[in-house]
Amino acid sequence: MDCHLDIFFLEAVLNGLLLAGLLALLALGLNLVFGVIDVVWICYAELVMVGMYGIHYAHKGGAPFLLAALLGILLVALAGALLHVLVIRPVLDSAPINQLLVTGGVLFFLQAAATMAFGIEFRNIGIRLGSVNLMDMSFAWSRLLTFAVALGGMLALWLFLTRTYMGTAIRAIAQDRQIMPLMGVDQRKVYLVTSAIGGGLAGLAAALMVLQYDIYPQIGLQFGPLIFMICVLGGLGNMIGGFVAAFIIAQFIAVGGSCFATEWGYAIAFLFFMVAIFIRPQGLFAAKS
């Protein structure tokens, strides 16, 4: 063990903070969809993977990065809407386990399809943003950018949810589903919009992740379990809880990884998660606020 309260410790804490922004963004989309539709998209990280490939190939095909990112976001928003119409809507009234299983099926389908289409190679978009040095610490620009854009994206969602009619309906529907028709609200439309936004958030995360990570068909396995852990820790469906949980888990990963070895960071985070969930099965915060 190699842990002192020195500059490297501070660097680990700050890197954890930067990672938390991305994890919070990832958790947000999943929580939004669950909070409104009451279905867990087990294949959420695979939607991110689809977005990463989309952005990768759009960029390779000549689109400037910002355009490729925008296309990627739209692509995954569309994928979210399609996922809802084709897979979720038919099982809306089924038992939760069946809903889990169908989205689990989509997970394997997307992984298999990506492997067939793109092969198992690791791909990199090849954009290097360099890093910034501060005293003896070093921070990748891609991480700083990710943090800022993730926070910006969350702020935009918050404004949408609190300022617009559709956003207010999205918050309301999670509180009382049955009376929505009395407000003149078409529940199917709210679900569809929510799914597209959930997809769009996954697309935004994808646009940020291609700057930091290699793309491969199983990248969802690296992030998926982490995202679920954060959502459950924060109280599934609770967007603010998920936000706070992302910052907690990211610290365990970053500081644990710096004190021991990177792999241990994840193990320690999961260990903390198991203990926390044992003590508070409903998550650190009550579900759905």
Partner: protein, 234 residues
């Protein structure tokens, strides 16, 4: 304005309404009286489309309601204040009112309608940033009625607005009902509090186990043996 003819409705294999026929004319306040489980809530749910009717015909100003999707009924001018208020408890009072103005036609006039509702119920304006679920029962009923008025309806359906409230507050709630009446809304109100509601209503129907058993002016029903025996303990 509203006309029902031979409406049957129920839940799965259970039938709760049997051949209900009734009408509400523009400008009237009509009451539906009935004991627990008589089918009063079911009746209002059928009118506002929450529960599809099994048989019969329903029209609002000549437009058939049975072929309209539930979320479009509001656009025919029918607003429903549901049983036990059903506010969105973790939304602010103002966000609840905003939900009442969700339909496109109402959105355009949101500011104007909000001023109107706040003028009618100043208490709501004081509490506009408070979470609806943290208000008192009477205030919540006020908010539920305000929410229904946000769409600028012609007909307001009220499902037992006095339910679960202390006697003093019940009187206040009936005062609210009288107020929206005098604002020119047509009202269809369902109640068990017969003595109070018949003071507000012009006409009334008596519903017993899913069937209309009597109807007439408020004064007639108040004097009728059926109502006196069943509800006033006389």
């Amino acid at each position: 304005m509203l006309a029902l003819a031979n409406i049957d409705a129920g839940y799965g294999g259970f039938q709760a309404l049997f051949g209900v026929s009734m009408s509400v004319n523009a400008g009237e306040a009509v009451a539906v009286l009935g004991a627990n489980g008589a089918g009063k809530t079911t009746l209002l749910r059928v009118i506002s489309g929450l529960l599809p009717a099994m048989r019969g015909e329903m029209t609002m100003e000549g437009v058939s309601l049975r072929v309209i999707a539930p979320h479009r009924i509001l656009e025919t001018g029918i607003a429903h204040v549901p049983e036990s208020r059903r506010l969105f408890p973790r939304l602010s009072v103002e966000a609840n009112l905003k939900m009442g103005a969700f339909v496109p036609a109402a959105r355009k006039r949101f500011a104007e309608r909000l001023d109107y509702v706040y003028g009618l119920f100043p208490r709501l304006k004081e509490r506009r940033h408070q979470l609806a679920g943290t208000m008192s029962g009477g205030e919540q009923q006020m908010c539920a009625i305000g929410r229904a008025l946000m769409s600028g309806p012609k007909l307001v359906l009220l499902d037992e607005p006095s339910m679960g409230l202390a006697p003093v507050v019940v009187a206040q709630v009936f005062e609210l009902v009288r107020r929206i009446r005098s604002e020119g809304y047509t009202v269809l109100i369902v109640e068990q509090n017969v003595a109070q509601v018949l003071k507000v209503a012009d006409r009334a129907y008596l519903l017993e186990v899913g069937r209309i058993k009597a109807s007439g002016s408020a004064a007639e029903l108040l004097a009728s043996d059926e109502v006196r025996r069943a509800y006033m303990g006389i």
